[in-house]
């Protein structure tokens, strides 16, 4: 990783006062690991949150002193593959510098409003927006941990069951590089 870091740091340094922009394809790290899918089972009259196991995403090292201007999701989507029941499912993304932290409420980066589900159906959800500025500094680490959460409510008469499966998640991090 040192070699990549050296090349990247040299490249960014050569651009003077320009910004470093990272487009991180988070989904590529999660796909196939099982961490991209959250199964949900919501009893009648209950609102609950289920989180996926934390997933590590590697970032280039050496940006520890940089200042992150903004972090936003530029492309994101999930499928709500509902198998039974009526209710709503919301999408949450948690980001932290370590695996345990990614399961903490303080790591909540974005909360997508709930989407209604009814019976056996698949509903596509668009995920976009700015992430919480309070978490900006996390992106100066050489690795971050993410967890996706399904916030479900049951408004019907049967148990709501299904999977929330991530289909895309790309994050854009803009920072004023300060590499030394």
């Amino acid at each position: 990783m040192k070699a990549l870091a050296v090349i990247l740091l040299a490249a960014v340094a050569a651009c003077g006062e320009g910004r470093a922009i990272f487009n991180v394809d988070v989904y590529s790290f999660m796909a196939g690991t099982g961490n991209d899918t959250v199964p949900y089972v919501i009893p009648i009259g209950v609102t609950d949150t289920v989180l996926s196991p934390p997933q590590k995403v590697s970032l280039p090292p050496g940006f520890g002193n940089s200042v992150v201007d903004s972090v936003r999701i530029t492309s994101g989507g999930a499928n709500l593959i509902n198998t039974a029941g009526t209710g709503t499912i919301g999408f949450q993304l948690y980001i932290a510098g370590d695996s345990l932290g990614a399961l903490s409420p303080s790591a909540l980066a974005i909360d997508i409003p709930p989407t209604a589900v009814n019976g056996a159906q698949t509903v596509a959800v668009v995920i976009s927006g700015d992430l919480s500025p309070a978490l900006n500094s996390v992106f100066t680490n050489s690795e971050i941990w993410l967890s996706i959460g399904a916030v479900g409510s049951n408004t019907g008469g049967v148990i709501v069951t299904g999977d929330m499966a991530l289909t895309a998640l790309q994050i854009r991090v803009v920072m004023q590089e300060h590499i030394l």
Partner: protein, 441 residues
């Protein structure tokens, strides 16, 4: 750093003489490069003797004054130009300063490139888009090198001279392999299980050379002794005594894992280092030169270090490599106490000048000091006390540069100004330098 090494930085301020700068680099004197590269010119009288060239040139460092105004000496500690911890620090700007010292005033500064760098990261993707800065990534070998004569002293009579000169030759070159060049120049993704390399080749050799030389006037023109007309010949025979020599060749780089992110790339270094075990390099070489002066016309050619091949009787070759498992460098001797030969590159100059009676002087030079040919062509028009100058040049990067300027001479004192475009900066645009100097005739 990799990106801070563009093709070949050319010498912008090749002279402290505003007259020469205004003529695109053409020298009106018979000293400097002419005597260095053409031994025949050691027998030709300098033009200072007849008052047509200055005895002394004093540069007026307006650029230094401006630089110190912008960067006060008592605040250098906090100056973003020199402080890597400052958010305004720009290493390219600092390198520009090194390659283009601010002796003369920069009429148009070359802007340091500033643009966003966009990096795309995925489990198996790593794309670095440098944007406009991609122009700095060299397509071919880049580096630096020179052949210098550090000292040249001796004594002589009747055109003959016996002395000793010191020589130093170094050449360092780097080449990006195709894969790494595509990543940096074409924003291609770093791929899994792929090697990315920079190929290096560096050589340095130095020593002393006892020399016997001759420079004399072969024929005289119709002007006789009073004029410089005639054919001049010069030659020098050197016995090179190499003091030290070293050469390193090989790649450095890394091999990615699978996936690109999440696995640690393996460092690559497997070079061969050749060194002399002592001062045992010997060889013979020579310089030759000829100059012909006929009235207003003058032409000359000089070639140095012809056949200069040094035989190093006691050298060794070592393999230096990086072992990723132990994260350490190792070296093993491949061969020891073996003979190796090296060559000094041939350097040359060709010059011509025409001094017309109308106050017009036209001149040109082709110089190769060991790393690329530089061409200068210029003209000066004098009218009463005033002079107007212009010239063009092709620098070591094969870029055209332009010079222009003028001056005024009152008795034995002249004030000259010259403008010169240059590209020896880490940018694709030309800068313009204004040189000012006082000449004493």
């Amino acid at each position: 750093m990799l990106l801070l090494a563009p093709a070949r930085p050319a010498r912008a301020q090749f002279s402290l003489d505003a007259r020469r700068i205004g003529m695109g680099g053409v020298s009106l004197s018979r000293g400097g490069d002419l005597r260095r590269f053409n031994p025949a010119y050691r027998a030709v009288k300098d033009r200072a003797a007849d008052g047509s060239a200055p005895r002394l040139t004093i540069p007026i460092p307006l650029g230094l004054i401006d630089f110190l105004k912008e960067h006060p000496l008592n605040q250098l500690d906090e100056d973003p130009l020199f402080d890597p911890k400052s958010p305004l620090f720009n290493p390219v700007e600092l390198m520009n300063l090194i390659f283009n010292p601010p002796i003369f005033y920069e009429v148009r500064k070359v802007p340091a490139p500033t643009n966003d760098v966009e990096v795309t990261i995925g489990k198996n993707a790593f794309v670095v888009d440098l944007g406009a800065t991609q122009v700095l990534i060299p397509e071919q070998e880049f580096g630096l090198g020179s052949t210098s004569r550090l000292l040249d002293m001796g004594f002589g009579f009747a055109g003959f001279n016996i002395g000793v000169m010191g020589f130093l030759q170094y050449e360092v070159g780097f080449t990006l392999d195709d894969a790494l060049r595509d990543v940096l120049k074409n924003a291609d993704s770093v791929r899994a299980n792929t090697s990315y390399r920079i190929l290096g080749d560096g050589l340095v050799q130095a020593g002393l050379a006892p020399t016997i030389s001759f420079a004399g006037r072969l024929t005289r023109g119709p002007g006789g002794e009073e004029s410089d007309d005639g054919i001049y010949l010069g030659a020098a025979l050197h016995y090179y005594m190499g003091a030290t020599y070293a050469r390193g060749v090989g790649p450095g780089g890394f091999t990615t894992g699978d996936p690109v992110f999440g696995t640690t790339p393996i460092g690559l270094l497997d070079d061969t280092l050749y060194t002399s075990n002592g001062p045992f390099g010997t060889g013979v070489g020579g310089d030759v030169g000829v100059a012909w002066i006929s009235g207003p016309f003058e032409v000359g050619v000089g070639v140095n270090d012809i056949g200069a091949e040094l035989t190093w009787s006691d050298t060794k070759a070592q393999r230096i490599y990086y072992h990723p498992l132990t994260d350490s460098l190792y070296s093993t001797v491949l061969v020891d106490h073996v003979e190796t030969t090296t060559k000094l590159p041939i350097t040359y100059i060709a010059n011509a000048a025409l001094r017309m009676g109308t106050g017009t002087t036209v001149g040109g030079e082709v110089v190769n000091s060991g790393r690329g040919t530089v061409i200068h062509v210029g003209v000066e028009q004098r009218a009463t006390v005033f002079a107007v100058r212009g010239g063009i040049a092709r620098d070591q990067r094969k870029k055209m540069q332009f010079g222009w300027g003028g001056g005024v001479r009152l008795g034995s004192v002249g004030l000259d100004v010259g403008f010169w475009t240059h590209s020896n900066s880490f940018a694709d645009k030309r800068g313009i330098t204004m040189a000012t100097s006082i000449s004493i005739y």
